[in-house]
C-alpha cells in the first residue's frame, strides 16, 4: 500500500498533470473491470452493505451483505479451480425466500431452502453454501454408484479446495475444525479414502484428472442401473491415480487403466534428466502404444524438477523446449485432439513444490 502511494506521489511530482491523467485512466480501467465483472462488483457491494449494516443495523443491509459476500467469495474462488476446460463447481446464486406475513412461501420438489445465520457468523454461512453447492453440482450422475466413504472424501476435499481458494484463513479454519477433521475422524473408511484423495490432490490430479474422468464416466453410464462393477471401476481409478501420485523415484507403477467404462493412459515426464538424455522418442513410442490400446483419453503430465529454473536456467530452458516439442510431435504424428492443457504448482512426495503441466489428448477414434 505504501509503495503504491509512493508511486502515485512520484508520478504526480515527476510528470505533473500527465501523471494525474495516467492515475485517472488507471482508476477508470480498474473501475470498468470491476463493473463488468459481476463477481468483483458483488465483492464491492458486499463491502458497502457491510458498512451500512454496521452503522444502521438494518436487516435489509444485512441481507444484501450476506448475499453479495457469499456470491462473490465462492464465485471468485471457483474461477481458480480448473476442471478440465471448465470451472468447478457451478457458480452460485443466492436468493432470499420472502416469507413475510401474509405471503406464502412455495417449496418445490427437490429445491433446497437453507436458513442462514446472522452476518456475524458469515464464515458458517459460506461453509454451509459451499457444501451445498459442491454436493448439488459435482459428481452429478454417479453419486448413486459411489459408496458413502469415497463420496464423502471427494466432497470434503472439493469443499476444502473451494474454501482455500477464497483465501480467508478464518473460513478455512472453521471448516477444517468443525467439519473436515471431525468427519474424517468419524470413520476408518473415510480416513482411508481421504488419504488417497489428498495425495492425488497434492499432485494436482484431483480436479484436473480424477473429476474430469468421473464426469466423462457419468455420461457413459447415463441411464444404466447401479452395479458393484461400476463402483469397483471408480474405486480402481482412485487407486490407479493414488499409485501414480505416491510413486517413488525410479519406481514402476501401472500407467494405463482399462476397464469396461474407463480406458485411460498416463505418460509421466517426471525425471528431467531422462527426457534431456533420451529425447522425446521413448515418450512418442509410449503414446503410440496407448493409442493402439484404444484408450479414450491420454494424459501427459510434466513435473519440473524443483527450482530447476533458478539453479540451472539453461537446463530448465532445454526442459521446457523439449516438452513443448513433445506436445507438437504428438499433435503432428497422431490423430488426436488436445482437450486441454493446464499449468499448476504441486507438492511432490517429498514435500517439495514443483511446477507442473497436464495435457489431455482425446484420440479421434473416440469422437468418431
Amino acid at each position: 500500500m505504501i509503495s503504491f502511494l509512493e508511486l502515485i506521489i512520484e508520478l504526480v511530482t515527476k510528470y505533473g498533470v500527465w501523471g494525474i491523467i495516467v492515475i485517472f485512466v488507471v482508476i477508470i480501467i480498474y473501475l470498468l473491470s470491476v463493473i463488468l465483472d459481476e463477481d468483483k462488483s458483488a465483492a464491492w457491494r458486499a463491502r458497502f452493505y457491510k458498512a451500512v449494516y454496521k452503522i444502521s443495523g438494518k436487516s435489509e443491509a444485512e441481507k444484501r451483505y450476506i448475499e453479495n459476500d457469499i456470491s462473490s467469495r465462492i464465485n471468485l474462488a471457483r474461477r481458480n479451480m480448473p476442471f478440465g476446460k471448465e470451472y468447478l463447481p457451478k457458480a452460485i446464486k443466492v436468493q432470499w425466500v420472502e416469507g413475510g406475513e401474509g405471503k406464502t412461501a412455495q417449496i418445490k420438489e427437490n429445491v433446497l431452502l437453507i436458513r442462514l445465520d446472522p452476518a456475524e457468523s458469515q464464515e458458517r454461512n459460506i461453509v454451509l453454501l459451499a457444501n451445498a453447492l459442491v454436493k448439488r453440482t459435482s459428481l452429478v450422475g454417479i453419486r448413486y454408484i459411489l459408496e458413502e466413504p469415497l463420496e464423502i472424501s471427494i466432497d470434503l476435499n472439493l469443499v476444502k479446495n473451494l474454501l482455500r481458494e477464497i483465501g480467508n484463513k478464518k473460513i478455512l479454519d472453521w471448516y477444517l475444525r468443525n467439519e473436515y477433521i471431525p468427519t474424517i475422524d468419524s470413520s476408518d473408511e473415510i480416513k482411508k479414502w481421504n488419504e488417497k484423495i489428498v495425495e492425488i490432490d497434492e499432485r494436482g490430479l484431483f480436479t484436473r484428472l480424477l473429476l474430469v474422468e468421473l464426469d466423462d464416466y457419468s455420461k457413459r453410464i447415463a441411464g444404466k442401473t447401479e452395479t458393484k462393477e461400476m463402483f469397483d471401476e471408480i474405486a480402481g481409478l482412485v487407486e490407479f491415480l493414488y499409485k501414480i501420485s505416491t510413486k517413488a523415484y525410479g519406481q514402476d507403477v501401472p500407467l494405463d487403466y482399462i476397464t469396461k467404462n474407463i480406458k485411460i493412459g498416463v505418460i509421466l515426464v517426471g525425471e528431467t534428466s531422462k527426457i534431456l538424455l533420451t529425447g522425446i522418442e521413448p515418450y512418442l513410442k509410449a503414446f503410440a502404444y496407448k493409442t493402439q490400446q484404444q484408450l479414450t483419453s491420454i494424459y501427459v503430465i510434466r513435473w519440473d524438477k524443483e527450482f530447476l529454473g533458478t539453479t540451472d536456467p539453461k537446463i530448465y530452458e532445454q526442459f521446457v523446449e523439449i516438452t513443448k516439442k513433445l506436445d507438437e510431435k504428438i499433435l503432428e504424428k497422431f490423430r488426436v485432439q488436445k482437450d486441454f492443457e493446464l499449468k499448476y504448482i504441486c507438492i511432490d512426495t517429498l514435500g517439495n513444490k514443483r511446477k507442473a503441466r497436464i495435457s489431455r489428448y482425446i484420440p479421434e477414434y473416440v469422437s468418431q
Partner: protein, 90 residues
Amino acid sequence: MKRERAYELIRVIYHKDTVNFFKSIGLFDKLTSGEILCSVCGEKITIKNFRAVTRKSGKLLFCCDKDSCIQEFTSVSKGGKNDIVSGTDH
C-alpha cells in the same frame, strides 16, 4: 477456458424471517407443538435449530442445524441414494 455461466440457485431464509416462513407454509403450529422432526436424526425442529427444508416425493423434509445432518441432507435433497422417508405432508 469456457466462460459460460451456469448457476446453481440456492434459496436461503433470513434468520429473522424463520417464524414468518413457518407461518407462510402453514406449519407454525406444528413447529411450536414439536411435531416437526429432523428427517436425518429425528430431533425436534425448533425456531432455534431449524437449518433447512426441501420437498421430496411431495413430502416436506426438515433438517436441524447439526453439521452431520446438514451434510447428509444437502446430498439427499438433490436425489441422493440414501432415501429419507419420514416427512411432513403439506
